[in-house]
């Protein structure tokens, strides 16, 4: 099977790159081994949140001071602003309603009620542009009875610490009560599937409207719309006050929806999305990759002019660590990782961890290498790249989006 480009990995970076290429007329195949870590995302993208433990307010200004090996430095600090605009537009084109500006971070609110820096946030989510000017004074925090995925006392306390007045209300509806019969499934995704009909939403709105009192904003957990924006849009019109959602513990409904919308957009553009398959082998001829063998397609490998590695980090198995080494499992590409296992981790789970900066070695054009030799038509994007730290720097989704677009531009200009 031959297409113009084969992308290994179907998460945020793989899909973004695939969409950018398909929009320009390329035939693209994405190999996605299972669902992606986008399902752990509560509805925000981050460009750069922290440097050495200090929050970053103006990411574009700060990027020039990042260390050389950071993916943003590789694609060029001067290109970040335009790539960021392009990424935002791509998300909007896919139907993902994000708001935010790369010039200045805003704050998103975690399920634990902690404010963290973000670049783009879904318009339905609670977003704070300035901690001194909160978007509401008094919040009605509506808690679903028996719901697993929202630690609502912590959330309420966190919101109070941010300066909100918070009235916490618990409620239920017929649909929610029925769901409670299954003891293990009072989870965000299960609720979203049962709360999508107009009747179910109306019952929620009735509860919310009768309980909200004199609050000037209503907060609900993000349990609306696994694959489209309809549920939230309908509910918003039924609720008498401004309505915002708060991210839940994963798997996240907003993350599932973003993944579904990006995949749908990619397929609409004619892309092939091979769900549940994974690349197992690459064949090199000279300095070029000629084919990728997948687990399911077996003896009929995928051929292409260009290949993209978007397989993610350790959690997605784009990188693997055993007792002796850190390696890239598909082709044994060169990786930036400490040889000495003692160096991989530091005691204390909240300490900066060396392993979270590990990834495949790339040159300034994001091309990968094997045994020191650059592979001319294989680029790496997203979390599989070395030199960034999603947890400590708050740059994971930004790196995924921007390196995906940079790689797509590189592929298109090669031709």
């Amino acid at each position: 099977m031959r297409t113009d480009t084969v992308i290994m990995g179907g998460g945020l970076s793989g899909l973004t790159c695939g969409i950018a290429l398909a929009k320009r007329g390329q035939r693209v195949t994405i190999v996605a081994s299972g669902q992606s870590t986008l399902l752990f995302n509560g509805g925000s993208m981050e460009l750069l949140g922290n440097i050495d433990g200090t929050p970053v307010t103006y990411p574009l200004e700060t990027i020039a001071s990042l260390p050389e090996g950071h993916p943003y430095r590789k694609i060029g600090a001067d290109r970040i602003a335009s790539l960021a605009d392009e990424a935002k537009q791509l998300l909007l084109d896919a139907g993902i309603n994000v708001e935010g500006d790369a010039a200045a971070n805003h704050w998103r609110v975690t399920p634990m009620g902690v404010a963290k820096h973000a670049w783009l946030t879904l318009s339905e989510n609670l977003r704070i542009d300035d901690l001194k000017q909160l978007p509401a004074r008094r919040l009605a925090l509506m808690c679903i009875r028996g719901f697993f995925d929202e630690p609502n006392s912590m959330l309420a306390n966190g919101l109070k610490e941010l300066g909100f007045e918070v009235d916490k209300h618990e409620f239920t509806t017929d649909e929610i009560t029925k769901l409670r019969r299954s003891p293990s499934e009072m989870r965000a995704a299960s609720l979203a599937k049962r709360l999508s009909s107009n009747n179910a939403l109306q019952r929620i709105a009735d509860q919310v409207n009768s309980l909200a009192g004199d609050a000037d904003m209503v907060l609900l957990p993000s349990v609306f719309g696994m694959s489209d924006n309809d549920s939230y849009d309908i509910l918003k019109n039924m609720v008498n006050k401004p309505l915002r959602l708060v991210a839940t513990l994963p798997p996240s409904v907003a993350g599932s929806r973003m993944q579904a919308m990006l995949r749908h957009y990619f397929m609409m553009l004619g892309g092939n999305y091979l769900m549940g398959d994974s690349a197992v082998k690459g064949t090199l001829e000279g300095d070029r990759l000629t084919t990728i063998t997948t687990a399911k397609l077996g003896d009929m490998p995928l051929r292409a002019d260009n290949f993209v590695l978007a397989t993610g980090s350790f959690i997605s198995r784009g990188l693997v660590a055993d007792y002796e080494r850190v390696y890239e499992p598909v082709m044994g590409l060169d990786v930036d990782a400490d040889k000495d296992r003692e160096q991989w981790t530091r005691f204390g789970v909240l300490e900066p961890q060396a392993y979270s900066r590990y990834g495949v070695t790339t040159d300034a054009t994001l091309r990968c290498a094997k045994q020191g030799k650059t592979i001319a038509n294989l680029r790496a994007i997203g979390s599989v790249l070395s030199g960034h730290d999603t947890v400590k720097m708050g740059d994971g989704t930004g790196v995924s989006l921007l390196t995906a677009l940079a790689a797509a531009h590189g592929i298109l200009s090669d031709k």
Binding site: S33, S182, E185, A189, L274, D277, M300
Partner: protein, 420 residues
């Protein structure tokens, strides 16, 4: 030592790799519509930990599993969740007899043999309201369902009378595992395959012995019979591949998945030595075109708008790509590729009275997408999806092989491939 430790701690089903992320539960079509089913994570790897301690922890709700495998497709950690559930069902069924209804539904070939003999009577009778009511109340087969019509002539009978003789004249050869649906209900699909392959120079042959692949037997708990039939099929396939050097082609995604993957995973019948030589015809034909070994020429005046539905087992095999790309070769075909949603029938599951409503609720998302697509027909590689979609949307549903055969300019194709 390090390798040993890691390798020894991985079971066949990979269940130790479950990180409890719950992503499988978000894609389960059954958990989405009923609270009686605990969801794949709990039914699979979580429950397995208890069942390993004591089989009495088996939960009867596991029979609600469709075995659609969507949990396995979604799992980021490669856990064979549905296999774990199937095996648990199998262990718990030992010593129990399946009900008359389940035995009847599962024995698609026995039922077919009888029904073919009396096809006009069977079709008329099975479609009558009183028959449906009796089946509904006595057999618990839902009255909304119509059994697929039985053909007056079996595919194998047609083949032996009208096609077998010419097949040796071709330069290349394949075997065809037609399955029960083609043989008893819809010989046209088999005829379409013969037409298509003959036009590009391939002779088609039946296997020495073909029995029902057993997918319905597994679903209905008739494991012993499924194993017996699996061994017969495995032997015939081996002869075709090893002695006659003929790849074994299929036109049903569920038969294919069963022969290749469920035989070893669920029935412990090892087919690994010939697994690579069992494939859907669309994969085989696509590859011949891709390697420029054959050419397909389509009718100039063919014009149709269709939607492609990826059957669950097709998605599990990861082969929808071949059917989609082949269909895209037809110039006059405007193809909409639908989102991958379950139709809800899952073989015999949706025929059972207790499952009917759940089955339709599961399929409702897909039916809406089909309605939105504004197409003249739907195409899919699974026959039970076909019945479900036809009943629920009113649109005709065809196998991609039939669509290709219909659009093919046979004479031009024969000429392009130098077939006399």
């Amino acid at each position: 030592m390090a390798d040993q430790m890691q390798l020894c701690n991985i079971s066949e089903s990979n269940f130790e790799q479950c990180t409890k992320c719950s992503i499988c539960t978000t894609v389960c079509p059954v958990a989405a519509v009923t609270t009686d089913y605990p969801g794949p994570k709990q039914a699979g790897p979580d429950g397995e930990r208890y069942r390993l301690k004591d089989p009495a922890y088996y939960d009867k709700a596991l029979k609600l599993c469709l075995n659609c495998k969507r949990c396995e497709v979604a799992c980021p950690s490669g856990v064979h969740i549905a296999d774990i559930i199937q095996k648990a069902r199998m262990r718990s069924s030992e010593g129990h007899r399946a009900s008359l209804r389940d035995t009847m539904l599962a024995n698609t070939d026995l039922l077919g043999t009888v029904a073919n003999l009396v096809a006009p009577v069977a079709n008329a009778t099975l479609g009558l309201a009183p028959t449906k009511l009796v089946m509904d109340s006595v057999m618990a087969i839902d009255k909304h369902r119509t059994f697929p019509a039985y053909s007056r002539q079996k595919f194998t009978t047609w083949f032996k009378r009208h096609a077998a003789k010419q097949q040796d004249d071709f330069g290349q050869h394949v075997s065809y595992f037609h399955g029960c649906y083609v043989n008893y209900n819809f010989p046209k699909l088999g005829q379409d395959l013969v037409k298509l392959l003959n036009a590009v120079g391939y002779g088609v042959h039946l296997l020495d012995k073909e029995q029902c692949c057993g997918v319905a037997l597994i679903a209905n708990g008739l494991y012993k019979q499924a194993k017996r039939q699996a061994r017969v099929n495995a032997d015939s396939i081996r002869k075709s591949v090893n002695t006659d050097h003929r790849t074994v082609l299929t036109t049903s995604s569920s038969c294919t998945f069963n022969l290749r993957d469920e035989y070893p995973a669920v029935l412990d019948v090892d087919t690994s030595d010939v697994r690579d030589s069992i494939m859907l015809a669309t994969r085989f034909i696509y590859n011949l075109v891709d390697e420029e070994k054959i050419k397909l020429i389509f009718k100039q005046d063919y014009k149709r708008r269709m939607a492609y539905h990826t059957a669950c087992h097709m998605q599990r095999m990861g082969w929808q790509l071949y059917s989609i790309e082949l269909l895209r070769m037809i110039p006059g075909l405007d193809l909409v590729v639908l989102e991958q949603d379950c139709c809800g029938i899952s073989g015999t599951y949706g025929f059972k009275k207790e499952n009917y409503e759940r089955s339709q609720e599961i399929g409702s998302v897909l039916f809406k997408h089909i309605a939105d697509a504004q197409v003249q027909a739907v195409t899919t590689d699974c026959e039970t999806c076909k019945w479900q979609i036809e009943m629920s949307t009113g649109l005709p549903v065809e196998n991609p092989i039939s669509v290709l055969a219909d659009a093919l300019d046979v004479e031009a194709t024969r000429q392009a491939n130098n077939i006399n």
